[in-house]
Subunit: 218 residues, 2 copies
DNA sequence: TTTATTTTTTAGACCGATCTAAAAATTGAC
DNA sequence: GTCAATTTTTAGATCGGTCTAAAAAATAAA
């Protein structure tokens, strides 16, 4: 059984390692956990003895198969809860992350399966991220960053990379949502900002920063 | 902000003090928290400095107005979550307590208000216990213990006092539920067991122990 | 390839929640 | 009212998660 804190470390390791494909360095983990490298070293030893990661001094950590499954279960819970909050309780998509950070630690396999049933087995959460299934299988939809798309090509918004409340609120404000159709009308050389149309109608400018945080498909 | 543990202590104090009316002794609290008296003394000091209880050495603790409100909020959350689990996610009434013990600690006023809205502002939880409102007001329905009722009188099951899974499963098995109409057909002098009819049909024997854990109204 | 810089680990401490063992206060018996 | 039994508190230790400061290893620079 993992503690609240251990679960958070494991989740961070999973994300920083791109789903377990790369090693994660101590300092990177320290930064993402808002803690100090010394604390990370301690925790990493513990997670290692629990078989969640393999840890070699000075070489960073690698998540194990067991650890990956564990991480995916936490992510599954997080995303199912986010979906519940938006879909059932009428939260806005920028309000759910913090609450889901708490709810993801509730221990009850029955609860999460019943929640999944109730929600109708959603494939993605309100930010467009895929929800791992019961077995930990995750279906990644191939998508690209908006800023890399060609001019005049119709693309559909699939997910946000950075899900910070302020970014999400901004998107809502200008009318961008998951499923919206965008077209790049113009690229501004100077600052990398884009002029786009939303659903063929509204025409707005978005910054390079925003464009780099929108994932789309053609 | 109270920790998980502090919240559990406060809830126990609230219950053991009958809603804040009596003082609670150290040993009683230790027993209900499955811990040692020494640990209770430490925690009680902390809750006292936080203004949740007043503590006087060797005389037990009394919950303060602030502490009572805090306790009622935790109870509100617990009971709303139990209602959600049964009403929305199709849990059986004997499966919800443990999960609600976890969910009651989620910190989000918005969540609990939205949950309350979604559930349609239920007045009681699946075990018949009243749900405190947003302001901490709790409407106790005057009810009596089944074993004290007169023979032949029709009574309605309102709540269970002991909500242990085994008791609840037993009740389900014999067909007793919140809202059922019971009539005491006979009292057995020897062991205090009762012969009752359920909804005027089924006739069963229940033990004194069971009869003392069913709350009814006439 | 030796030195300087960065990264990581170790050592030792603190805090919160718990424990055991022993001391102190209260209660009950006579 | 004194002594024994019970209850409660204190003292000191442990454990998990964190920290700072210093040591050690790895990396980059000269």
């Amino acid at each position: 059984m993992l503690s609240f804190t251990e679960e958070n470390y494991l989740k961070s390791i999973y994300h920083l390692s791109n789903g377990g494909t790369q090693a994660v360095l101590t300092n990177a983990l320290a930064e993402s956990m808002n803690t100090k490298a010394a604390s990370v070293t301690d925790m990493v030893k513990k997670l290692s003895t629990k078989g969640m990661i393999s840890y070699e001094k000075y070489y960073g950590v690698k998540i194990t198969r067991v650890g990956k499954t564990e991480a995916l279960m936490i992510i599954r819970k997080h995303r199912l809860w986010e979906t519940f909050l938006v879909q059932t309780l009428q939260f806005n998509w920028d309000e759910v992350h913090e609450v889901a950070e708490q709810l993801e630690h509730i221990q009850s396999p029955l609860l999460i399966e019943k929640l999944d049933d109730f929600l109708g087995h959603p494939r993605t959460d309100p930010h467009g991220h895929p929800i791992p299934d019961k077995a930990g299988k995750i279906v990644e939809i191939k998508q690209v960053i908006l800023s890399t798309c060609a001019l005049r090509k119709k693309v559909m918004v699939r997910a946000v990379r950075n899900g910070s409340p302020s970014f999400l609120q901004y998107l809502s404000k200008i009318g961008v949502y998951i499923g919206a159709t965008l077209t790049i009308v113009d690229k501004v050389e100077f600052d990398g900002s884009l002029e786009i149309t939303i659903d063929g109608k509204k025409k707005v400018f978005i910054s390079r920063d925003a464009a780099e945080n929108l994932m789309v498909t053609e």
